[in-house]
């Protein structure tokens, strides 16, 4: 019996307020029931895995975690946004960082985390003696980011207020782990919409993504990337649903709302905007043919309004308070003296082998392999924790096999692909937009730093596409061997996750 059918007969007699609360509960539970049990389990696995990562990784040994912590402190304690990108954080955070030897350990793989009772006692007394200042106006590199993730993290921060910096950090990491669960659930739901013919393959894609070590590592830390991954996964789901079932007022609103959430979470979400714009254009055209132009345009207006209004509100707050909107968006200004063509060439080479006749921006470096593939296979801590080099070579074997099986599935389904060309173009634009944004940001630091933002985590908003590749690879093994290939892929991701955590344990505590 559907939730809608239940409502009239079970309406309580205790007044309209109680009735509407009951309706809301029933609607929510109906919504939850529509999500397959397997999706919830994938979410739970991702969440538990991220919590495990949060225990394994030492405090503040994740990129930019001190800055993100400072941002939350400022927001939770003063209600205001940070104003300085200085790396000098509050006294209590600095005391914790010093006692943890954070600077000596960070990017120094030969140095390990504190390891003796004496150091632990020193840490405890430093935490107890640290003077408490209200807020932290300086939040380092996090200062330029929008506030939504930090506002949510202010809840666990406030719950643990009065306890030590490390207590607050631990609780915030736990809260962040929930986003890994959301990411996995939305990847599963995306696969259900995008690949409706093989339900067992949804589990392969969703579960493998849930076990992806980089998702666990980033979500088990205080970092807005965790929420960004969840926001982008939900965007992929909303778009796939709209392409499969057609645009409606509700689906348009969902796309708009998710876009707003993403933009208010981390600036990198802006890289997905070209893809969102293309998707809305295609979906509106289709809806105009089916429902008439005025209805389609009304839905489009819904999506745009829901996407733009929160962003404009944030822009207003920013304009009234201090600096310009999207302070960090200046990343795409380009290196001095460089041409747009040079920037384009740089971005191309950041991901792919250089074209004949172009300047070589990365001599001796195969960027696709060394920056992105190796970075995904294993680069933890402050980008200082790596596997022995043979591991990256061996990893090419399963990666190649997955790529071949995926290609086979795509060839087999080429007729269906042709009919979904518009949708595929949207996914390609989403990926290209994000990659271009990361490339443009790296170009601003070039040539002082060859590839500053060439970190695999910046591409994790494309996790749904990884899930799709894995699901397709399992299907590409054929009807007979597909499920076994799927099980093998899951085991592979599980092994990758286990060994990645062991690597981190060996690096910091071994």
């Amino acid at each position: 019996m559907s939730a809608r059918a239940v409502t009239p007969t079970s309406a309580p007699r205790h007044g309209s307020r109680a009735a509407s609360a009951g309706d809301r509960r029933r609607r929510a539970s109906g919504l939850a029931r529509r999500v397959p049990r397997a999706a919830w389990i994938c979410g739970l696995i991702a969440c538990l895995n991220a919590i495990c990562w949060s225990l394994v990784t030492p405090a503040f040994q994740v990129p930019d975690e001190p800055s993100h912590f400072a941002y939350v402190k400022q927001l939770a304690e003063t209600g205001e946004l940070p104003t300085s990108s200085s790396q000098v954080t509050s006294s209590e955070e600095s005391a914790a960082l010093t006692a943890l030897h954070q600077v000596a350990v960070r990017q120094r793989p030969q140095n390990q985390a504190i390891a003796t009772n004496a150091e632990q006692r020193q840490l405890e007394s430093a935490l107890a003696a640290a003077p408490h200042e209200t807020g932290s106006p300086a939040a380092g590199v996090a200062t330029s980011q929008p506030p939504l993730y930090y506002a949510l993290e202010a809840i666990p921060y406030t719950v643990a207020r009065g306890s030590t910096v490390l207590d607050r950090l631990a609780l915030m990491r736990l809260a962040s782990s929930l986003f890994a669960g959301l990411s996995a659930v939305f990847v599963f739901l995306f696969l259900r919409e995008a690949l409706p013919r093989a339900p067992w393959a949804w589990t392969v894609g969703g579960l493998s993504v849930a076990l992806a070590p980089l998702l666990g590592f980033m979500s088990g830390a205080v970092n807005p990337d965790a929420m960004l991954f969840a926001a982008s996964a939900s965007l992929f789901y909303c778009l796939a649903r709209a392409f499969r079932r057609g645009l409606s007022a509700r689906r348009a609103a969902a796309i708009g709302a998710v876009s707003a959430i993403g933009l208010l979470t981390k600036l990198n979400f802006a890289g997905l905007l070209p893809g969102i714009a293309l998707a809305l254009a295609l979906l509106t055209l289709r809806a105009a043919r089916a429902h008439g132009a005025s209805t389609a345009l009304r839905w489009l207006a819904f999506a745009l309004a829901l996407g733009a209004v929160p962003l404009l509100a944030y822009a207003g707050v920013e304009a009234l308070s201090h600096e310009s909107l999207l302070r960090g968006a200046s990343v795409s200004s380009g290196s001095p003296g460089s041409s747009p063509l040079a920037e384009l060439d740089y971005i191309w080479q950041l991901y792919l082998p250089r074209l004949p006749g172009t300047a070589d921006y990365f001599p001796g470096l195969f960027t696709t392999r060394q920056l992105w593939f190796d970075g995904y296979v294993g680069l933890y801590g402050w980008l200082d924790t790596v596997f022995p080099s043979w591991v990256y070579d061996v990893a090419l074997i399963p990666a190649g096999a997955i790529a071949l099986l995926c290609a086979r599935a795509l060839v087999q389904a080429r007729a269906a692909l042709r009919s979904r060309a518009g949708e595929l173009l949207v996914y390609a634009t989403l990926a290209a937009g994000l990659m271009a944004l990361v490339g443009a940001a790296s170009f601003t630091a070039f040539p002082q730093i060859d590839a500053e933002y060439a970190q695999a985590r910046y591409l994790l908003p494309l996790l749904p596409l990884l899930g799709a590749v894995l699901a397709l690879a399992a299907r590409g093994a054929g009807r007979r061997w597909g499920p076994s290939a799927g099980a093998l892929i899951v085991v592979l991701f599980l092994a990758h996750d286990l060994f990645s955590q062991l690597l981190v344990v060996a690096r910091y505590y071994g």
């Binding site: 397997a38 389990i41 739970l44 895995n49 919590i51 495990c52 225990l55 394994v56 990017q107 120094r108 793989p109 030969q110 985390a113 504190i114 390891a115 003796t116 632990q120 840490l123 306890s163 030590t164 490390l166 207590d167 631990a170 339900p199 067992w200 589990t203 579960l207 849930a210 076990l211 001796g364 060394q370 402050w382 200082d384 790596v386 080099s389 070039f446 040539p447 002082q448 730093i449 060859d450 500053e452 061997w481 499920p483 076994s484 799927g486 099980a487 093998l488 899951v490 085991v491 592979l492 599980l494 092994a495 996750d497 286990l498 060994f499 955590q501 344990v505 060996a506 505590y509 071994g510």
Partner: protein, 213 residues
């Protein structure tokens, strides 16, 4: 379903074997170093172009399987190490670009015996990035050389070789160390992490068995 179960069982057995092999393996330890203990990092040279630093009178302990060279870079270039003694090349190794931090570890073929009076040359292909060499300030006569030019001191080099104890025998001390640096210190962290991963494993396998045909 039988195939899926078999795949899972075999896969799990493979993972267990790999973990066993890893635990039987000994982590590398520093067999010899010319860095004084506790000495803060000290720059002796910096370069934004390809360079080759050579350091004479080095002693490489038997079993050395990697050299940790104290070069600092934001995104390290490819580094090549060559060890020679008495006019003969003894060992060499290369580390690809992309390393980060104050030191780069370059694997070399393990040495069968101790080599003294060796010359260690470290070359890198920097183009725009700054590579900083860290070491002890010394007189020019004993300093590391970049071609004919003496640097401001001797480069820190650590010689690494597999330790005598396996990861398995170090498990207890590693677990104890994991408990430090936390809000609530203690070995509970290890048990919590193990319990979480066991739950992840159980849930994942159950899901695969129930959903895959």
């Amino acid at each position: 379903m039988r195939r899926v179960t078999l795949t899972l069982v075999l896969g799990l057995a493979g993972v267990a074997c790999a973990i066993g092999l890893t635990l039987a393996h000994a982590p590398t330890t520093v067999a010899r170093t010319n860095r004084p203990p506790g000495q803060p990092e000290q720059e002796i040279a910096s370069s934004r172009e390809s360079s080759r630093y050579c350091q004479a009178d080095e002693t490489l302990p038997r079993g050395t399987s990697a050299l940790r060279v104290w070069l600092d870079a934001a995104y390290g270039p490819r580094v090549t190490v060559e060890v020679s003694a008495h006019g003969r090349r003894i060992a060499s190794g290369q580390r690809g670009s992309g390393w980060i931090g104050g030191a780069v570890t370059v694997p070399v073929t393990p040495l069968a015996r101790t080599i003294s009076e060796a010359s260690v040359c470290v070359s890198f292909d920097a183009r725009d990035e700054t590579v900083i060499a860290q070491g002890n300030p010394t007189p020019a006569a004993s300093a590391t050389r970049d071609g004919t030019e003496a640097l401001a001191g001797r480069l820190w080099i650590e010689y690494l070789r597999p330790g005598s104890r396996s990861w398995a025998s170090l498990a207890a001390s590693t677990a104890q160390r994991m408990g430090f640096g936390r809000a609530a210190p203690g070995i509970w962290v290890v048990f919590a992490a193990l319990a979480l991963m066991a739950a992840v494993l159980a849930l994942a396998f159950r899901l695969v068995l129930s959903e895959l045909p």
